[in-house]
Symmetry: D2
Subunit: 396 residues, 4 copies
């Protein structure tokens, strides 16, 4: 530490005139090669013009080429997604597409998976600071009494966002608010940030105490799992359901509903003692593969992978299986949805653009349940390891 | 529902001779176009031969092209990563690269971020079933007494994996075991699955009760956040640390250490009441962007985004800031690490292949802390929304 | 197991004419002596007539005599509790009363602890079952639209309880409802059980699907800690606050605000990784001692001990310390509040009967904060163990 | 606030010569009467000499008389508790004793409840502070290498306590240690505090960096529920099991095993989304009633009420029901166990003194399962509210 540190490394080159060009990207790749020796030959091969990228990336150098596998058909019986779907899944994990594909066949042969969006809102959660808890409580009452004006201030910033509910949470001399918005077909994190800032500024100007605030008090809870999401939803709350019959299940999966139900008790108890965000198997796999393919904000896997499975063995021996994704964040407009490959994948699902978000959410849920049935059966039937051995050949 | 359901949709074509060819992929894209009308023109443009893909994908149709932005240099002072790094970040979220870039400058101007891997193991968690809790307890003692034989059975399946510790958790007449392995430079989920299966089969054959087991009792906890990961680590536990000086911090970020510390109290309380997996800001953003670029199993963002921030304002006014990633799952060998763009990105970090995993983990932690400092400062300084407005132009 | 089991042990005697008499109690003690050899001499010494006990106990045999220590005075500046209070604490743990007493002195010398009840409702959470998630969602909308009728049905069963909010939580084909009631000065668990049963019966009769329900779906969450309580309150949400000055703190406790704040960062990080219900020290101690003395339902310590501490070191060096009890369940009417010693203890606090519950809640919070300051200081100053050694003499 | 505050209230009188006398207690009651008007007539009636109280209470004024009801017989088939037990339950909640009594009959008629202690240790969790994470990691390795010396230092302070395992948890530049001790028949919180202080002092003196430490870093987690307790046990981990037959269950409880299993799925899902410490019903009720009667540290209900239920419907229709108490803290020696009524209640269970703790733990678990079967059945059969209406007559 007492030595003179080495001089700072060179800055990344930028083109002040127009940084979103193939030339600027190429210049940066050359810079990387000069600095690191890595040529970025494949990274530099992309099929679209960088001029579309403002709003999506800075210091563009090229692309990650993530392999997409095709799964399906998956028959979905939702309110928005209704029919047979072929699913693009971007992943580098062998077996994943094959396993989901198997589950999709199972669900489809039962006539399709029911998918239902039961709640839908995006949050920003500012926090206001007061002299003491009494003042903070009074503030909370004032907020409730001024909901209409606050909503007007928030909604003035957006054509689409609508403020629905403001949750309130008291800690010490703080008042955390959780603004819940309908955001249409956008995921809406930025939309609600801007709207909530305007609302907070209106509050600060109009409340007699002109209280200080932070735009996020960390209960949004942006880019991380939380129990508040499990309870109160972040993004979409969407449920996939199937009632499995042994006559179809047994030949395809080698297990019965009763065996699955038995194992379910064990995995639920495990999830409970582990303090798990999800008492099911591997929702993150299907969601991530769909998210990468379809231009979603993939970091939202942090929130979106949370789920609760609820099952019952029916009197006739059929097996009711549901999974509730409590905080699925997805969009069919804005963000990365309009980029070249991403838009194509949304289009093959019939989900691109306005009006697609609820349909896409239903597809996500159906895909997740397909993956649950396949992996849970594999663990039980004993072919989990052998299938990875066969399809995951390049592993150590 | 009483109507005759529509006939099943056609099956996805496969080439039985060799399915990993450009022709097979093209045939599937044509199939998608015929079924859905979506041409997949861009998806079909990739720069590598599909023959490398077995073990990574099934039913290959092409690639998702995810834009990569370049951030840095980030000066890291780790045991394995030591020097200035340029960071490839694959994302479609505007502002993200710029924001991390700003944080990297802050850390670098302080002489670099200290990064340390403090723990490292991958899990598989079988569960054994007994007549009653007494028998299960006896089994637990037997497992402890036979650790060497169990380890030998497990390690016979792998050149790399080493069984370190078997955790035991008792519930009812069940005994959950949590096998913890060193897995070298692979993430190791499949490796430990195979090894644990062998261990369980040895146990079943040799324990006097020949107990039934499931290979996963769901406390692994694969592809999901859990408190057991926060406590006991999954993958790498890696810590990034910086001691910020106001003389550097204030000009760059517009805030002081004291202000950050004040806000930290509020965001920690928020995270606590929310039951959050992470009491910091947005670790998932940096991790996901690195994971997509570098061929990681991106679904592991579910586990990897968990973190604990711990900070202190020092007597001299400097601000000590640490973030502990408790379950970072990463690899520089196997999985998607060898694919075309992914390998290039690992190579520009000097992390590709054997010996790179701990270095890559340190880089991940440093990147995360850079993003934490930038976003936390922006929320406080009030330029969070305005920067998204400027750099996230295509949003509604 | 194959042996014939021993015959059943004799039944406990009951007096069918009037079981709440000294004679019936005596007969049962004699029975215990005959069966076990234990004379229950002290258990049989109580100072009230058993005729008051219906509604509180069955098979009465006598009393547990739990020592009460006196602490205080504690100066409280609340909305309902305002002045100096002497606190009865029933415990068998040496040091506890002395330690709380020390904290009370600290708070009082600062002019008193501010205490504020910021929320107040008791829950019962039935769950309704449906064919699928879509039907359950429709039911949820129906419940929202029929709130007034549902409230009327619920409130017809009680003179005091008022239905405020019905939370809704969707999982699979289930709809969990969480009825939140104002319950006056009673804790209200039975009141809200009865009211919610009536509401559910009205719903079942009037909803077109006549859905089945369970009166509790386990998200009440009765007699157990939960994150939903931390977020949404169960019973009273009450906050105690103090701003400590080193000039008073240092002589009394041997520590400074800055030292306490430093240690707070460490204990908060610990609580976070541990997944703790409370990121403070030992709220359960003070609450339990008050609850036993004052005739509360002591099992509610399970819920009531949850708390969140939030602190700041102010610019002038003073130390703001708050604790938020998120689910304090207490009563001054009904339950055990009217029994002999219990009523006396409530009366010495001026809390017995109608109108006392909010005052009692404020006292609980003030007492808890007193205990927090004392124990936290002791851990830091190093006299934690020595004081227990001195005052906990009978221990091994 | 700008007014002159009222003068401080008078101090509680103490007798410097001998404060543990009836006279000193009487003087304090007179003081309370003078200050508050409350005569404490019943509080002053106790049947033992105050000379036994040092180590249990300070500023003694008398006792809380908590009614005890008798339940049972409960047939237990444990390793330590084996036979029929009559259970003293101290509570003021009507219906509680009757309900547990009903459950005890159910379990007894099945031949008794199996109870097994599967783990047993008490914790103190110091935290050591370092320059950076690297130094903290090195310290962790040093601690592992010096386990024997550390244990010797700890055990030199106690005749009974034995240091078993030191868990390690890394956060930033901190190293949290969790010392786990066997503590014989004492609960042991003070014992392990003293022993761990000695161990920390030995570490501080002998480690080259002579690091600072806090005796508790809040992951003990003393007097509060935590997930670390659920996973790693605090106090006793004890399991109660029963296999119910419809032929006995249906006549007594009005429900079948299949119905209970169906409802169990619903209450488990509820507990999971609520983030509950316990996915069963009301363990806190039985534990608290036993704890008050038997001289336990009742504040430990905070930790002790955590539980995990695991059930299966067997092929023959029988219903396997287990509950695992993960952090039951109990003692039969030290603390309040030797006081007048408390000792009598322990004696009627055959648990007083040395050698009783495991037996008492088994009894606690058996009692809890009895209460679970009764309440769960009542919710299902619809007589939950009506029984409270009948037995809880004094309520509003």
């Amino acid at each position: 530490m007492t030595q003179t540190p080495p001089p700072a490394a060179p800055k990344i080159p930028r083109d002040k005139a127009d940084d979103y060009t193939a030339e600027a990207a190429s210049a940066r790749r050359a810079f990387v090669q000069a600095q690191t020796g890595s040529a970025l030959e494949h990274v530099g091969q992309y099929s679209f013009g960088p001029g579309v990228l403002p709003g999506n990336i800075e210091n563009f150098i090229g692309v990650a080429q993530v392999p997409i596998g095709l799964a399906g058909p998956l028959r979905i019986r939702g309110e928005h997604a209704n029919g047979d779907f072929y699913i693009p899944m971007a992943t580098t994990e062998g077996t994943l597409v094959a396993s989901y594909n198997r589950g999709m066949r199972l669900l489809s042969e039962h006539g399709g998976v029911k998918c239902t969006v039961v709640d839908d809102h995006m949050q920003r959660s500012p926090v206001f600071m007061f002299e003491d808890a009494l003042a903070a409580r009074g503030f909370g009452e004032w907020v409730s009494a001024h909901h209409a004006e606050i909503a007007a201030a928030a909604e003035a910033t957006t054509r689409i966002g609508k403020l629905k509910v403001i949750g309130q949470y008291a800690v010490g001399n703080l008042r955390y608010l959780r603004f819940n918005y309908a955001t249409g077909d956008a995921a809406g994190q930025n939309m609600v940030g801007k709207a909530t800032l305007a609302a907070c500024q209106w509050i600060q100007a109009n409340h007699p105490l002109h209280p200080n605030f932070l735009l996020s008090g960390n209960i949004d809870t942006d880019k991380k799992h939380s129990q508040i999401n499990t309870l109160n939803t972040r993004g979409k709350r969407v449920i996939a359901e199937i009632t499995l019959k042994d006559s179809i299940l047994k030949p395809l999966m080698g297990v019965t509903g009763q065996q699955l139900f038995h194992a379910r008790q064990i995995s639920q108890a495990g999830a409970f003692i582990a303090g798990s965000a999800n008492n099911a198997a591997h929702a993150a796999n299907g969601i991530t593969a769909l998210f990468i393919a379809c231009g979603q904000d993939v970091a939202n896997v942090a929130e979106s992978h949370a789920a609760t499975t609820y099952c019952q063995l029916l009197d006739n021996g059929d097996y009711y299986w549901s999974i509730t994704l409590t905080s699925l964040i997805c969009a069919t407009y804005g963000g990365g949805t309009g980029l070249a490959t991403q838009r194509e994948c949304l289009e093959m699902l019939g989900c691109y653009g306005r009006g697609g978000a609820l349909k896409f959410a239903e597809i996500c849920a159906g895909v997740v349940l397909a993956g649950e049935t396949s992996l849970s059966s594999a663990i039980l039937a004993g072919d989990w390891v052998s299938s990875h051995d066969q399809l995951g050949r390049n592993r150590p």
